[in-house]
Amino acid sequence: MSKGKVVDSSKQIELRFSVLRTAVAILISLVIAFILIATVSDNPGGDFITLLTGPLQNSSRMTTIVSKFIPLLFTGTAICMVNSAGQINIAAEGAFFAGAVAATMVGVIEGIPAIIHIPLCILAGAAAGAVIMGIPGILHVKYNVVTIVAALMINYVALYLGLYIILNPLRDPAAGFEASYPFAESTSLPTLFGNPRIHIGLILGVIAVIAAYLLLYRTGFGLSARTVGNNKKFAVYSGMPVGKTIIGISLFAGCLAGIGGTVETLGNYQRFMYTDFTNHGWDGVMLAVLCHNKPQYMPLAALFLAYIRTSADALNFSSSVPPEIIEVIQAVIIIFVAAEKFMAGWEHKAIVKNSQKELGTQGGE
């Protein structure tokens, strides 16, 4: 029974439709964006062009894209990993924050050579992130706690514990505002391309994406993680170490999110400046949706989000349109990409037609 090359498998059609659905979702969101801009702007055409091409208009904005892109790689990949194992673990938000705090705790120590200091900071960030994202995973496995609830709670614990550390033992009274002591000079991350705002976090982020891909798709651990995510009962009955897999992947994802927080803080600031959640964890959820939890597409998705965020900055700079309309665009994209049955009628028709064709060719043999 040879499958003719002329006909596609249903899987290919599904893939094509999932790409098409993403494209249509982006298109719908752009139409909505145009309508929103047109209602509040004095110069709708110009502002819409700013939205589309603003980030490319000068090199400083292009640098901004890259600098917004770096942290998204980490949290997006982290969420891809836990999602693949069926864990709704949005503690990436807290893990990112905790990573930044832990890096600050190590980063303010003076007198360590850079070659040791930076890895130490990253290690501290990764460990803090692993703890924060690991806890919901462990609680789920050991005590049957619903992961998303535990994750929501642990996020706030990370936030307030972090703020306590920053605003009490580490607070610099000379700063004049609520911030930590400045980081030691030995923590300033090496930069790339001679651009002071692009740091080695970019390389680490790409490594994180590759590592996550290899782990998920090229190892037995990744296979059991994906099996747990697809069909937990099957994984249990076929004797896979379900609990260990879930905990392992949560810890690994936490490391990534923590490192993200570390490089974001050390790479962009002189001291710890956050006073609230940074929203990178929730951004990660959106990115994982766009990628269908496949880390290999993460750079593309993260680039897209970084691009429209930079568009928002450009709009804020050049017009009176509130940059928050970007959030509306995001919301529309997420909800349409997530809607599995959106355009399902066409998809179904295409699959039926294809099957008929396939049967027809087979019948002819």
Partner: protein, 320 residues
Amino acid sequence: MLDVIFSFDFFSSVLRMSTPLIFTGMAAVIGAKADILCIAYEGMMLFAALGGVLGSFYTQNLLVGVLVGVICGIIIAAIFAYFVMYLEARPLLAGLALNTLGSGGTVYVVYLLTGMKQNTSNLQSLRFPNVEIPGISSIPVLGDLLSGHNLCVYLAFLSVIAVWFLINKTRLGLRIRAVGRNPEAAASVGINVKKTKFIAMLLSGLLASFGGMYMSMGYLPYFTTDMTAGRGFISIAAQNMGLGNPALTMLFCLVFGLAMAVGNMAQSYRLPSQFASMLPYVVTIIGLVIMGIKTKREETHVKKTAHAVGNGAKGLEEKV
């Protein structure tokens, strides 16, 4: 500091903090009973908060304002329900999308209608009145404790009773529980599962709307960006702690409200407020773990008993 904690001011501050949590907690109870993982309460609250302010500003009529607010919140709930039930979107993602929409969309609407970006403090919008309960307000201590609070405070506690009644004593409540516990069984006796879940979500939206409107028409006299500040999520946690029971959920909403009030007070005394703010979340996690240990123990107990019974049967067979 103790004299502050035992003051009437502190008591009413706890009530102020708890009120939006109780409303949204009850919304989460209904959602949980219908087995819908809804995290879109932040979005519903924000839109209702803005709708209430704008409705009452343009008409200068509180009732119309409330109506507009409720409609705004319910629309978000309906979008959520439609995407989850009919387009099979993952509930978490639909919730995330609508929360994002709530955060950005409200800013857009504020700017479109008023030209302001941060808040609506320039608008003369209306507030829910404070209620003096006749008879009780003149009793010395009790009057100060029970009377003179915002109307929403009383409505919040009434909503607990209403939700309990709805779930346990009405046909609709029975259906909601049925589709939540076993949709196939419910469908087999002729209950329209999707429709029932949809109605549950709309009711949930109604309650969450009041939580939002209290924020902008009671707690504060105007709408500000992201003013719900995670209260929707906290309510979900309270619902989980309360095992979906309205009274228990209310209790945990009060615990969270207490912790928020303590946090605020600590801040005004320049004490590190973070520990007070963190406390409710830590308590929730510990509570969830204790509950988990308990259910696990029961499961193993059942298994052991089954095993013992099995052995006993074997013994009998041998004897025969």
